[in-house]
Amino acid sequence: MKRVTMNAVVDQNLCIGCKICEKVCPVYAIQVTNRKAFSDDQKCVACANCADRCPQHAIKMVERAEIRELGVDVSKFDPKEIRALCEKAHLNPEQILCYCTGTRAEEVAACLLGGATTPEEVSAQTGIRTACTIECIQPLLRLVQAAGNELHPDPNGWRWYGVTTTAWEIPQEVKDKYNSRGFYFDEDRELLDRVVKVGADKQ
């Protein structure tokens, strides 16, 4: 769940149409037409990426007249299906994926079971990755992929480029080479596996 309290507003006089705002918006809420950017306040999730990357300082975050709430009702979906999808992505349904909004894996899974197929759709519906837009991209991509979707980064944007390695895929020779330097690869993998399984017996 995320409360959207702000909104991006473009000062058209300052905008030079460089499209950087478009490229960093996680939900396609701002677009450049005829060399001027326009934000859609019904889509904007107030991450402030556009405002913080605009080279002209042409975008301001202003308070919304009405607060928008984002969220997917997890109770409408089969908990077994939610768990299966989360486990496929090596996640516990209850674990928090987005440190900014507190969005849990189960909500992302529910959103995907409800028909979302891209990270942008999931962000727009659940609020995940709508604040720092940094730290939760990998588990989000992992879940979108685990739900059977192919990942195609937008070549016209910089939203995300792709999935990366997880604890379950680090090659043994890499572990052998670097273990002695104090990286606890296998121990951490075991810890992550234990987290994934918490609550499984209750189902």
Partner: protein, 489 residues
């Protein structure tokens, strides 16, 4: 130890700074260190074995540092840099939060000057990475005059959502920020301050920016979500070891700091030489303060520094690490998950309890947090959710309420109109008069007299414990023994 001589008047805290991430400095009416009953301890008196520092060091200290930095940087091999080539000096926001920020700015100036002097190269740019506040280093570049020093168009702040570049590593493709690598050569300009021990666990500390401030979101998320709490920093090594980064890496130049100030400058073509110093000497210098803070049994923690909540400083320890000081953050085996790190935060279930029962709580010694002055720009609701928090001033509360990463911070915190009111409330509600202030006081720490006495009493035993028991364990876990300290001298 004789108490009386070691207790000093409070040190002037770091001044509030104008920033889009904090309230207007004019709204910070009172600093907690100014209130009755507050005093300071000097770290060099608490731990007399700490080495001497150049800064803080009175008038002329920064000029001295500039000259010393140039001397050290001159020693590295720069023969690979041709006069017609381009060089990116890579910086990170952290450095500007250390000891008022000036020492790091001096280092960045010295690097530029020596590269010009030794190579004749003129195309030297500054690329300053950030944490989660995408404008933060833009603010620092202006504040410290680095835009004019590096010349028009040569200094810029970069962010993890900027255009990326794929980097092939031993663990597959990771991603860097394109502007970081858009020169023939890169110079890694950093510092040995330990800062986020909860994240890097003092493994490859000097390498970390390659997966953070120089990295795209994909790599940073790999660190904080994919590998686990003790393997996370391998992301940095994987990127640094890549053929791509190695083909551009010229040298590293670091401010050599301790919790009490700037000791000197280290520059080397081999980053791992710097890394060993940062890692092992860091355990010794910072490990003692961290361990001492872990011995505090009850206190009110005060945030009073121009930085986001977890990054406010006291004696080289950030608040985030104080919230985990009930465990040994350097102990890789005994502390898989500290009380606070992002993996820990992720693993709290819907009932507000950790999924794994063995997870330690946030430091129970912190009876209340008085948030007198700290910035937004970092998800901090986990702290106010678990530690009773009182925020000073409605303006500050409003700032948090309207900042995307902290929409929930004020859901759990209360507001006091004044600093004095907040402290009174904290004293009455907690029943303790022990106060530790995270205000960046240089060379020491500000606290209440009651806490000062306790710290003075406990310091000698902590020093012994760290040297004789903890360091041998920490080093063994990192593949070395105590003889490494001799080698690094």
């Amino acid at each position: 130890m004789e108490n009386k001589n070691l207790i000093h008047p409070a040190i002037l805290p770091i001044a509030p700074k104008p920033s889009q991430y904090g309230i207007d400095p004019s709204l910070v009416k009172t600093r907690v260190a100014e209130l009755p009953g507050m005093c300071s301890l000097k770290l060099s008196e608490l731990f007399p074995e700490l080495p001497d520092v150049i800064f803080p060091g009175g008038e002329g200290a920064l000029d001295k540092l500039y000259e010393l930095a140039k001397d050290e940087i001159r020693k590295v091999d720069m023969s690979m840099i041709q006069p017609d080539q381009s060089v990116n000096v890579l910086a990170s926001h952290h450095g500007f939060t250390l000891l008022g920020g000036q020492p790091y700015a001096v280092l960045l100036k010295a690097i530029r000057d020596v590269v010009i002097e030794k190579t004749g190269c003129k195309n030297i740019r500054l690329r300053a990475g950030v944490g989660m506040r995408f404008r933060e280093t833009e603010e620092y570049i202006k504040r410290y005059g680095l835009d004019t020093y590096y010349g028009p168009g040569k200094a810029k702040g970069v962010a993890p959502v900027d255009e990326g570049i794929p980097i092939e590593t031993e663990i597959g493709t990771l991603y860097g920020i394109k502007a970081i690598y858009d020169a023939d050569w890169i110079i890694h300009a950093h510092h040995t301050d330990v800062r986020e021990v909860h994240f890097h666990r003092q493994i490859d500390k000097a390498v970390k920016p390659f997966s953070m401030s120089y990295a795209r979101i994909e790599s940073r998320s790999t660190y904080h979500q994919n590998l686990g709490p003790r393997a996370a920093n391998f992301t940095a090594r994987a990127i640094f070891e890549s053929k791509f980064v190695q083909s551009k890496f010229a040298f590293g130049a670091f401010l050599n700091v301790g919790p009490h100030g700037v000791i000197g400058v280290i520059a080397d073509n081999n980053l791992y030489n710097i890394n060993d110093r940062a890692t092992f000497i860091g355990c010794q210098l910072y490990g003692k303060v961290m361990t001492l803070f872990g011995k505090i049994d009850e206190c009110i923690a005060v945030l009073d520094f121009p930085c986001p909540v977890p990054y406010v400083f006291s004696a080289g320890v950030i608040y985030a690490n104080f919230t985990g000081a009930n465990s040994d953050l350097y102990d890789m085996e005994g502390t898989p998950l500290p009380g606070y790190t992002w993996y820990t935060e992720a693993f709290y279930g819907k009932n507000g309890k950790p999924l794994l029962p063995e997870t330690p709580p946030l430091n129970p010694a912190i009876k209340m947090c008085v948030h007198n002055y700290a910035w937004t720009g970092y998800p901090s609701a986990f702290f106010s959710e678990h530690i009773p928090t009182v925020v000073v001033g409605a303006e500050q509360a409003k700032l948090f309420d309207t900042e995307p990463m902290n929409i929930k911070y004020m859901d759990h915190a209360t507001i006091a109109k004044t600093t004095e009111g907040a402290m009174e409330f904290a004293y009455n509600a907690t029943g303790t008069d022990k106060v530790i202030i995270f205000d960046g006081a240089m060379g020491g720490l500000n606290c209440s007299e009651s806490l000062a006495k306790e710290l003075i009493e406990k310091a000698p035993a902590v020093s012994k414990e760290v040297e004789e028991v903890l360091m041998p364990k920490w080093f063994r876990q990192r593949g070395v023994d105590m003889s490494v300290l001799e080698k690094l001298k």
